[in-house]
Amino acid sequence: MATFELYRRSTIGMCLTETLDEMVSSGTLSPDLAIQVLVQFDKSMTEALETQVKSKVTVKGHLHTYRFCDNVWTFILQDAVFKNEESQENVGKVKIVACDSKLLTQ
């Protein structure tokens, strides 16, 4: 099953990466195993987002930069507004990184 490493940049992914770095550098974990953990995280995170999350969001804003490279869209929005059922977040500048969802189904 193909996975995205995309989510490793999220908070939970960064926390895991830091943990693995510490454990590998202290010798309690082998680098190979650490890689396996990260790959498993990619799978579990993708799966959890598919199965556990239902909320919908609308995004509006001024598109400052757009880029499509290696099947990854990158948008930089200015004065963006994120709305979901519960709350609204206003952000002066936000970066959106999106991988092609079709790559997962292949």
Partner: protein, 386 residues
């Protein structure tokens, strides 16, 4: 509500990862305590980030992780030895396996982001090491100072003009070092014969310099003649041969004096090269040093005026400089994106379309980090105006 949902999803992910890795850990012969430590650290960091709340759920997961550990404690002594063996071998080569095995088909961005710090440091080191190696070839320059006597060679052109008469008469084109002593000999002989001690000393104070460059030599010689003639005539009335000898002697004396002056200058290397570049380096007298140690003057003098000869050295420096330039560009980009990296959306896109300056995109399965809050979505519609 949203945050609790997020934390529950995160805990679900943690549990899923830990549970699915248990088999791997066992098959690798790694104690389950390592897995528990991994989970504990991970959750601790999540708590510190404020992303995961409910300690109750965390306790339950810890309990779940804690159950198998006592079972595996029975094997601790055996597994312990393996643990000690594996980490030491692996610690020797931690970075390479970390970076290479990532083969999942994700585009470059996330990976580059993750390993940016490492790669940056690597790139940072490369120029340094390169610079260090650059300095080494540059350092031989000090050795070059030893052959400083060679310095006399460059002024050769000047000396030849001065001393070529002796060279013709005696050596027929010998080196300077050989021509110099004859000059002194002549001086001694002439002074002994003529008892004209004044002459050698006079011309120099008068700053008379023979211009035997082929043009207007006659004029100079005539002027030269006049001076001695005026002095000589009263005492020794005869012959032009004497005059000629005197002329010869005088010119030789003068030449010798000038040669000695030039020599003095060269040995002292007091010829100032105030062209604004590497003035100090020239004082060391070794030009090649400049090329080998291109950045020395930059750091020492801070003189930025470029010199054509310098361009070579600059070219040698260019590879690291180019990377620095790239870094600068990256920094600029990061400067643009820095605020946005604190607000980040990671998702998958289903469709991105544009009508004139109006962009629409449909995203799914996203993690948003906005205003220090994590928000998850299964679907997102974006409308942007460019």
């Amino acid at each position: 509500m949203a945050t609790t949902n997020v934390s529950s999803v995160y805990l679900h992910v943690i549990d899923s990862v830990v549970n699915k890795l248990r088999e791997e850990f066992v098959s690798e012969g790694v104690d389950d305590a390592v897995l528990a430590e991994l989970q504990g650290l991970w959750e601790l960091k999540m708590m510190q980030c404020g992303v995961v709340q409910g300690p109750i759920e965390r306790n339950s997961t810890v309990k779940g992780a804690g159950v198998p550990t006592p079972v595996h404690d029975l094997n601790v002594p055996y597994e312990g030895t393996e643990e000690y063996e594996t980490p030491t071998a692996e610690m020797l080569f931690p970075p390479t396996p970390l970076q290479t095995p990532i083969q999942t088909p994700l585009p470059a961005e996330p990976t580059s982001y993750q390993y940016l710090p490492a790669s940056h440091s690597e790139y940072g080191l490369v120029p340094n090491s390169g610079a260090a190696t650059d300095t080494k070839p540059g350092r031989p320059a000090p050795y070059m100072q030893q052959p400083s006597p060679w310095m006399g060679q460059r002024p050769l052109g000047v000396d030849v003009n001065v001393a070529y008469e002796e060279g013709r008469e005696e050596d027929g084109g010998g080196g300077i070092a050989q021509t110099e002593p004859p000059v002194k000999d002549f001086f001694m002989l002439n002074s002994g014969k003529r008892k004209r001690d004044d002459y050698p000393s006079n011309p120099l104070p008068n700053e008379y310099i023979p211009q035997q460059d082929g043009s207007a030599d006659a004029l100079l010689e005539s002027s030269l003649q006049e001076v001695p003639v005026a002095n000589i005539c009263p005492k020794e009335a005869h012959v032009e041969t004497l005059r000629d000898r005197l002329k010869l002697q005088e010119t030789k004396n003068i030449d010798a004096a000038i040669a000695s002056m030039v020599r003095m200058k060269q040995t002292a290397i007091t010829i100032p090269q105030h062209d604004g570049y590497d003035d100090n380096v020239y004082d060391n007298g070794v030009r090649t040093e400049d090329y080998n140690t291109p950045y020395d003057p930059a750091t020492a003098n801070g003189v930025g005026t470029p010199i054509p000869g310098r361009s070579e050295a600059v070219e040698d420096d260019e590879p690291p400089l180019n990377e620095d330039d790239d870094d600068d560009l990256d920094d600029l980009e990061q400067g643009d994106e820095e605020p946005s990296t604190s607000h980040l959306v990671l998702a998958q896109f289903e469709k991105v379309s544009r009508t004139k300056s109006r962009w629409k995109c449909i995203l799914k399965d996203g993690i948003m980090h906005l205003n220090n809050k994590d928000i998850l979505f299964s679907k997102a519609n974006g409308e942007f105006e460019f």
